[in-house]
């Protein structure tokens, strides 16, 4: 019976890399283009998930579980980041009634 990793390996590795790269790029562009803090944050999460996908693919290809363990790390720490990040966004919203990062330019570059 075919197992999951052989199914994963049925698709060339480059496709995973390409897909991850595309997702990652979408995330990066999202961060750079969007002005809403939440959406920026979601774009960041998208970047992280692109990494997760890539790690899982590599892990499966090399028959090494550590890549998947790393995915766990990323998920756990991303959760912590989500908690803190949302708290910060809420805090900002409560003070400014906006989460548009354009109003956050009191401190100039």
């Amino acid at each position: 019976m075919e197992n999951i990793s052989s199914t994963i390996q049925a698709v060339p590795l480059n496709h995973y890399i390409l897909l991850s790269a595309i997702i990652f790029t979408i995330g990066v562009i999202g961060v750079l283009v969007r002005r809403n803090a939440i959406i920026i944050f979601m774009s960041v999460e998208l970047m992280l998930n692109a990494v997760n996908l890539l790690l899982a693919a590599f892990s499966s290809y090399s028959g090494d579980a550590s890549g998947q363990v790393f995915v766990f790390f990323i998920m756990a720490l991303a959760a912590a980041e989500v908690a803190v990040g949302l708290a910060i966004i809420v805090m900002v919203y409560r003070n400014t009634s906006s989460i548009d990062i354009n109003i956050l330019n009191r401190l100039k570059w």
């Binding site: 590795l13 890399i17 991850s20 990652f24 995330g27 990066v28 961060v31 803090a37 920026i40 944050f41 960041v44 970047m47 992280l48 692109a50 990494v51 890539l54 790690l55 590599f58 290809y61 090399s62 090494d64 550590s66 890549g67 363990v69 790393f70 790390f73 990323i74 720490l77 912590a80 980041e81 803190v84 990040g85 708290a87 910060i88 966004i89 805090m91 900002v92 003070n95 400014t96 990062i101 956050l104 009191r106 401190l107 100039k108 570059w109």
Partner: protein, 459 residues
Amino acid sequence: MSTLIVISILAIIVLYLGLFKAKQALLPVSVLGLVAALALAIMEWNSNAAPIFSGMMHFDNFAVAFSSICIITTILVFLLSKNYFEKISENVAEYYTLILFALSGIIVMVSYHNLSMLFVGLEIMSVSLYILAGIKRKDFASNEAALKYFLMGAFSTGFLLFGIALIYGASKSFDLAVIAQYVIDHPTGIDPIFYVGLVLMIVGLCFKVGAAPFHFWTPDVYEGAPTLITAFMSTVVKIAGFAAFLRLFSICFAPLQDFWMPTLLVITILTLFVGNITALYQTNFKRMLAFSSISHAGYMLFAIVALGAASTNAIFIYAAAYAVSSITAFAVLMLVKAKTGGENFEDFNGLAKSNPFLAFTLTVAMLSFAGIPLTAGFIGKFFVFNVALTQYHTWLVAIAVVNAIIGVFYYFKVIVAMYFKDNQTKQIATPAYFNFVLGVSLIITLVLGIYPGFITNLF
């Protein structure tokens, strides 16, 4: 490794002390705990430690040295924090805890032997700092600092992770030793994704250490965050960032120097100029320190660009010098701000008359920043230049020299304000803790500047 455990447990103890309303005990417990952790760290010196926790971490001399300097700096920050946090928020214990958690992340960052630990340490540190940057909940600047720091931090983490993933894809391991072996074993046929991963990691790490052109969050965050947190961020955090950076590159990527060196070279030069030239135009002392921290990041990057046997030593000395001087600068800034309510250079006017000791320590700190002999900063710069010249980066050093000259302008601004401008300000009351910290920093700066033999032979 007991250091890490002690600090983690200490953080929890402090948190619970806060729960049980033992506010008076917070500071002593934190400081004593850190001293214990420091002692434990130093005891592992030269113990030829092998990687532990299944190769996750490696508490070698490098780790011991950088842990120690981070712990010492944190102790100094803590000593300054008496009565500081009480003023800005009611949740005092949490701040001690968060700083300690950040420190435990930092210990991981300086002693990792596996990329996953690099990531974990970095995140423990960053997440704590996101909160710390925003601890003044009602203060808009603090809010903004927190949000910016958070978004930029998360963004850069993304790059770092993608880099790690690609490197993993090529080398099939997160273990530094295995990656290093991979690089050595494949002198020609290294997978292209490895290079891409390397570049992405450089981007991620440069974000974290605030190197141009990824520096733009730094000044805002440093200015917006409470001063003491800024002090912590610009010293301990930055040092840890560089330690992690250096550890990775010296263990894994040294043979690929031809590939990454030009990239890093450009970043270094850019960082130097951006940091220095923008610092020149600042009227706010805190913001000036932020930009100056960017430029110091540039100097420290030097030692990585010219990666060699002496790099570690150079960065260590530079970091130590930079840390104590920064602590002094921020301590004085806090006192001055408490008195005058401002952070601009004018607020320092006449400080030499009203408070000679403060002025003197700040002067020494600024001289150290500027790299004038007999201060630790000079020794740091000297070692960094030495490393860079070893690799025949003569032009790079010439550029650095030009930047050091620019640096003199803005570091002397505050000296000029303190000594040569008058202002009828009354004496600033300096609490004993401050005097202690300032005194210690002063002594360290001068001792390292006059007789650096203690730490020049560590590695």
